[in-house]
Symmetry: C2
Subunit: 340 residues, 2 copies
């Protein structure tokens, strides 16, 4: 036997009948619109309360042309970064009585375009988290999805507000932190070659190389997951670097694990750092030094921009959050500092 369905909700007509007024009066009272005779208003409110009435969002949406809902397009709900952003956004949106629809493309870049357009039809706006979407597709898509807020992409002259972490600046800070600790020979484990965020990282390295001619930064091809980090341990060690910086925490954790198995001590034999500060970074052995990306804040800022857009206000300036260096046990000081 199938589960009985909740009884049909009451309509505005039920309330009107109960209160002995017209539909419009009820509507007005419910929306606090025009002025209504206090006595009637009270009657209406009483009727609505006793009937436990609330207006159908669907019907309101149709006539008002707005759904009180935004869709978030994410590539993969398994990724802590996206979840964090989703969470931050969802909480902030709820504060403004907005709802969040999720559109998980499950890493299928090809479908992302359609998915977003589809989602847009049932929503008032789109929050786009699409790290892999080609720039030209993005450029064509944004006007059709508007209002849109873009997370973690740096689009030149984007018509859509952008909220992103500044991975480049973050990595520079992380590299500099290593230099301050006396490291002069580093090795960076890359992500996937094609990705924009990987280019960011490499550009940061160029920057540091240029400003510190005495420093060597080797590059080892890596990946984005634990296994990648695990796999490159030998190549990392071969460089002879005193510190290894991984594309992200997952890779760093893989490296940590491989080094542990090989009997290479961290940080005594080699220092290791990650990037992102995912929830478990602080719980590795030793705790992982990393650059923390405030993912929930990303979501909250995205909502702030979105809220402006929805209210036809100029959105706040594009915001780039600087990841913060979290120095933990996996990185050690190389030379004793001069006495202060």
């Amino acid at each position: 036997m199938s589960q009985p369905v909740a009884p049909r909700a009451l309509t505005i007509a039920d309330v009107a009948a109960r209160a002995g007024v017209s539909l419009s009066t009820v509507s007005r009272v419910m929306n606090g619109n025009a002025t209504v005779d206090p006595e009637l208003a009270a009657k209406v409110r009483a009727a609505a309360a006793s009937l436990n009435y609330s207006a159908s969002p669907l019907a309101r949406g149709l006539v008002l042309g707005k759904t009180q809902t935004v869709a978030v397009v994410v590539p993969d709900l398994a990724n802590p970064t996206f979840i964090g952003a989703l969470r931050g956004l969802s909480l902030a949106a709820a504060q403004n009585d907005y709802h969040v629809l999720i559109a998980d493309s499950s890493e299928n870049v090809a479908d992302e375009r359609l998915l977003a357009m589809e989602a847009r039809r049932r929503c008032d706006a789109i929050v786009l988290v699409a790290p892999r979407m080609p720039l030209d597709v993005l450029a064509e898509l944004i006007p059709r999805l508007a209002p849109v807020v873009v997370i973690n992409r740096d689009l030149p002259a984007s018509p859509a507000p952008i909220v992103a972490a500044d991975y480049r600046a973050g990595l520079i800070e992380l590299l500099e932190a290593h230099l301050s600790l006396g490291h002069r020979h580093l090795v960076f484990i890359t992500g996937v070659a094609e990705s924009a965020s990987n280019a960011n990282r490499l550009s940061a390295i160029e920057d540091v190389r240029a400003s510190h001619p005495d420093v060597v930064v080797d590059i080892v091809a890596g990946g984005v997951d634990f296994e990648s980090g695990y796999a490159v341990a030998d190549r990392v060690l071969e460089t002879g670097a005193t510190a290894a910086l991984a594309y992200n925490d997952l890779v760093a954790m893989g490296l940590l694990s491989a080094l542990h198995e090989k009997g290479v001590r961290v940080p005594d034999d080699v220092s290791v750092a990650g990037f992102d500060d995912i929830p478990f970074a602080r719980y590795t052995t030793p705790p992982l030094t990393t650059a923390s990306v405030p993912v929930a804040e990303l979501g909250a800022h995205a909502w702030a921009r979105m809220w402006d857009l929805l209210n036809h206000r100029a959105p706040g300036h594009n915001v780039f959050l600087r990841p913060r260096v979290e120095l933990r046990g996996s990185v050690r000081r190389l030379a004793a500092p001069p006495a202060a």
Copy 2:
């Protein structure tokens, strides 16, 4: 300047005009309903295609009384279990052209009821993940939200289909696995006392105690997070148990960390196990033995039940997924087994 909004979508009237037919004909063609003259149908389809028309989900929703959307009520998007379920559900729902609205109560049990009812108004059904919601509230709420599917609660004679992990059975298996490895003195670190899932765990322990009179299982009060595990290390060691089983992986990881700092070797000095198999459990040092809860499958099963409900079919039987023991490096064999 505010971002321009996407142009208003075309209506069925535009298509009708373009094809030179009536609205109803377009509607029929779009829905493949009544039979339409093939020639006309072709014209309509051509018009729709050239105009890039698709029906307004909002308007359809209003007249059809269904939104093609379900809401998932979760206590906290930061919890890997809920995310896993959400992901599994979202992917499965998408297969059936259904959309997922998230309703994050941010652990606010008091608001959960209202949140769910609110969400229900804009959706066709509710998936409820509410581990802390009192039974009586649940009982009162379910009929009003129907159709509903409940995740990870074991309600006696529930009118709503249930999809859950069998924590009790899982813990028994995990305990037995320890016994097979020669452990005779265990210690269990509890979660929060009030929670139903904690009661499950304790009941599992009673079960094992009863069937193995020679085995000692001590109990230490713990919690649900890393810090709790970290804090109870001394009390765990004081028991003299050869193996510690934590309420969940987070607690186990905290314990692991504290033991490491104290110079207590795992698993040589003491074995440690968690529960859940969160994504990072395999990456601890040593890799954490645990009982893996298939969270994404939970979501997929939930959707299957939901799909039945939505199609007025009797839903599949309630399903309890048995967590699987994942024996990893954090637990060791105590006595050499007799030669086979």
